[in-house]
């Protein structure tokens, strides 16, 4: 995993690099828009961490530039601009997520992992969360080296939740995924599938919890990080 960090504060840059190194990801740290553009031009990155207020320009311009070139590398904005409208501006510019300073290393790494899981470049990779590993290609779930049997509907629900772990996934999005299988969905099909999946995960002590956020969707939580 290779990450580009664009941050102008030397001390914060140093701390972020230290945090990222602890999870054994590689990180290149630069302090200006120009240096970031030069780095992106010569090396492929899995994730960009971009501060907005940089000495030679705005991080938003850097993000707009790489999106204009058609690059799909996930971008996480790290900024002190915390207002909602500023967050919307950042996301509109092409960022995938927005982390307002101050934040702790758990928060930072969780956001990075979430973005990396969702990244198209990593679709074929193994998704590891809690005590389980899930192979999206083969749709096989394993826990402590043992394969866990799941129904096709449970597998597709789990795949959606794992890719969006730590976020509330609207029920409609899961319905759309299940519809891809041509299933006729009954009114409580999603609830039933989630309920079964929840029991299954509890049974294997997966270290995961599926919360029903009534009226909003479902939330998959990694209990091992809590």
């Amino acid at each position: 995993m290779r990450i580009l960090l664009v941050e102008d504060s030397p001390r914060l840059r140093e701390l972020l690099v230290e945090t990222i190194h602890k999870v054994e990801w590689r990180v290149d740290a630069v302090d200006t828009v120009a240096n970031a553009q030069a780095a992106i031009a010569v090396a492929p990155y899995d994730l960009l961490l971009v501060d907005l207020g940089l000495p030679d320009g705005d991080g938003l311009d850097l993000i707009r530039g790489i999106r204009a070139e058609g690059q799909t590398t996930p971008v996480l904005i790290l900024t002190a601009r915390g207002a909602v409208d500023e967050r919307i501006t950042g996301l509109d510019a092409g960022a995938d997520d927005y982390l307002v300073k101050p934040f702790n290393h758990h928060e930072l790494l969780a956001r990075c992992r979430a973005l990396l899981r969702r990244a198209p470049a990593h679709v074929a990779d193994l998704i590891e969360l809690g005590h389980v590993a899930f192979d999206p290609t083969s749709a096989v779930l394993s826990c402590a080296g043992k394969t866990v049997a799941l129904s096709p509907r449970e597998r597709s629900v789990l795949a959606v939740l794992l890719r969006n772990a730590g976020s509330v996934v609207p029920k409609e999005r899961i319905e759309a995924k299940l519809s891809e299988f041509g299933d006729e969905l009954s009114a409580n099909a999603i609830e039933l599938a989630v309920s079964r999946l929840r029991r299954r995960l509890d049974g294997i002590e997966a270290g995961l919890s599926i919360e029903t956020v009534r009226g909003a969707g479902y939330l998959l939580r990694d209990l091992t990080n809590a």
Partner: protein, 455 residues
């Protein structure tokens, strides 16, 4: 202030009262001058008396079948036959006597019958008051001329006052009233017309949106004096607009300068494996939250209403619940969203999101683990955050709900209150010991429904 202004008399009413007041003074002065002028001029006063009395007596003369008849009109006294104080003789031009209450007295004070009298004549019979006067005039009745001659010898005060009263009424009171009505009406209309631009300017100033720094009073059609006032107000508005922009820049700068060191502190503490470091992390989090709220409060002062858009409260509530859901569960609470015929309002989606997030944060911070929090949109333009903690802590029921602010300063709830006020709405907290605390944001209905920046 608007109520006090409404109670004050209007300029038109003030001017009307002043015109009436000064007109009454002017009229009174005029009456005194005219009265004095007549009263001390016996010759003029005598003529008026003869004129008035002859006019009254003429009313009693009529012609029937070619013959003159006379009957003393009602209200006329003192002309009885043989009267020694008031003599009257009415005769036709051919010499026929129509009425006479005097014999030899007439010969003494009136013109001889054989004399063809002038149209009007008056002769004072003595000096000073009471006035004794003789005189006569010719009067035309039914196309024929008659001559009325009168001599007022004694006890004539009533006659004098009647003549003066008639003169005052006919030649003073009526013209003065007419003049008053015209002057008053003209002045009021002129004042009202002159005040129209001022009223229009006041209306414009009253409808100025304090959250729109571009709003100005249109002075293009105002008279110069009012336009100068409007221009002064516009200069103040421009200054407020600049202050709002400066405030926004300042809060952004402050946020940046404080948040970055806080991020360093949190990351640094994260590298230290010690319970004391964890406690400091929590302190830094509290400090970060306070900084966030203070800068948010500063940002509210710089909000511009022109950026308001339709916001679907149901979409907003659902979006915020989804956004803060992970944080709520991480703090061992649960959250749900419900909707009941919620409406859209005209507002700033970001601010409303901040308000709702603040209320949820507040509910999580001040309730025990396991508490269910519910965000309910509707019915109507309303959204509420309810925590179902019940009466979770003894003594809490004695406190004002506002005391349960998300921080010691109550900044979080102050932000929510201001956001509600910016949207023309209200914010209220109520505690039901059996259920928990309910924080409700009520907004005015918006005519716009439908589209929203929130899904």
């Amino acid at each position: 202030m608007p109520d006090q202004a409404a109670r004050r008399p209007g300029l038109v009413a003030t001017i009307a009262w002043r015109i009436v007041f000064f007109a009454i003074i002017a009229m009174a002065a005029q009456v005194v001058i005219v009265f004095a002028d007549y009263y001390f001029d016996n010759s003029e006063l005598g003529s008026l008396m003869i004129e008035r009395e002859s006019t009254l007596l003429a009313r009693g003369v009529s012609a029937q079948d070619g013959r003159w008849t006379f009957r003393l009109p009602e209200g006329i006294e003192g002309y009885d036959p043989g009267s020694a104080t008031r003599l009257a003789r009415i005769r036709a031009v051919d010499g026929g006597i129509i009425f006479s209450n005097c014999g030899t007295q007439c010969l003494l004070h009136l013109l001889p019958e054989e004399v063809d009298p002038p149209d009007r004549w008056t002769r004072l019979l003595g000096q000073g008051k009471p006035i004794a006067v003789a005189g006569g005039r010719s009067v035309w009745i039914d196309g024929k001329q008659i001559i009325i001659e009168i001599a007022i010898l004694d006890r004539n005060e009533a006659v004098m006052w009647r003549a003066l009263g008639h003169e005052f009424a006919d030649h003073l009171a009526i013209p003065m009233l007419l003049q008053l009505v015209l002057v008053l009406g003209g002045s009021l209309v002129s004042t009202w017309l002159a005040l129209r631009p001022v009223k229009a300017a006041a209306r414009q100033a009253g409808s100025i949106d304090p959250l729109d720094p571009e709003h100005r009073i249109d002075v293009s059609e105002m008279p110069r004096e009012v336009a100068e006032l409007g221009a002064a107000v516009n200069r103040s508005l421009a200054r407020i607009g600049r202050l709002m922009r400066d405030q926004r820049l300042f809060t952004t700068a402050v946020a940046h300068e404080i948040r970055t060191p806080l991020a360093m502190m949190q990351l640094e503490l994260g590298q230290i494996d010690s319970p004391r470091a964890r406690r400091m992390e929590r302190d830094v989090e509290s400090l970060a939250r306070l900084v966030g709220q203070i800068t948010a409060l500063g940002r509210l002062e710089a909000i511009e209403r022109k950026g308001f858009q339709p916001v679907d409260l149901a979409g907003l509530g659902r979006s915020v619940v989804a956004s803060v859901g992970p944080w709520v569960y991480d703090h061992a609470h649960s959250i749900a969203f419900c909707e009941s015929a919620a409406m859209s309002i005209q507002g700033d989606g970001g601010l409303l999101e901040d308000a709702l997030t603040n209320l949820i944060t507040n509910a999580v911070t001040h309730t025990p683990a396991g508490t269910k929090i519910e965000v309910c949109a509707g019915p109507g333009p309303r959204i509420a955050v309810i925590d179902k903690a019940g009466l979770y802590r003894p003594g809490d029921c004695d406190k004002s709900p506002m005391a349960r602010a998300g921080d010691s300063l109550g900044v979080g709830l102050e932000i929510v209150k201001r956001i509600a006020a910016i949207h023309g709405g209200t914010f209220a907290i109520s505690v039901d010991p059996a259920i928990g605390t309910m924080a409700v944001l009520n907004f005015p209905s918006s005519p716009t429904q439908g589209a929203s920046r929130h899904p």
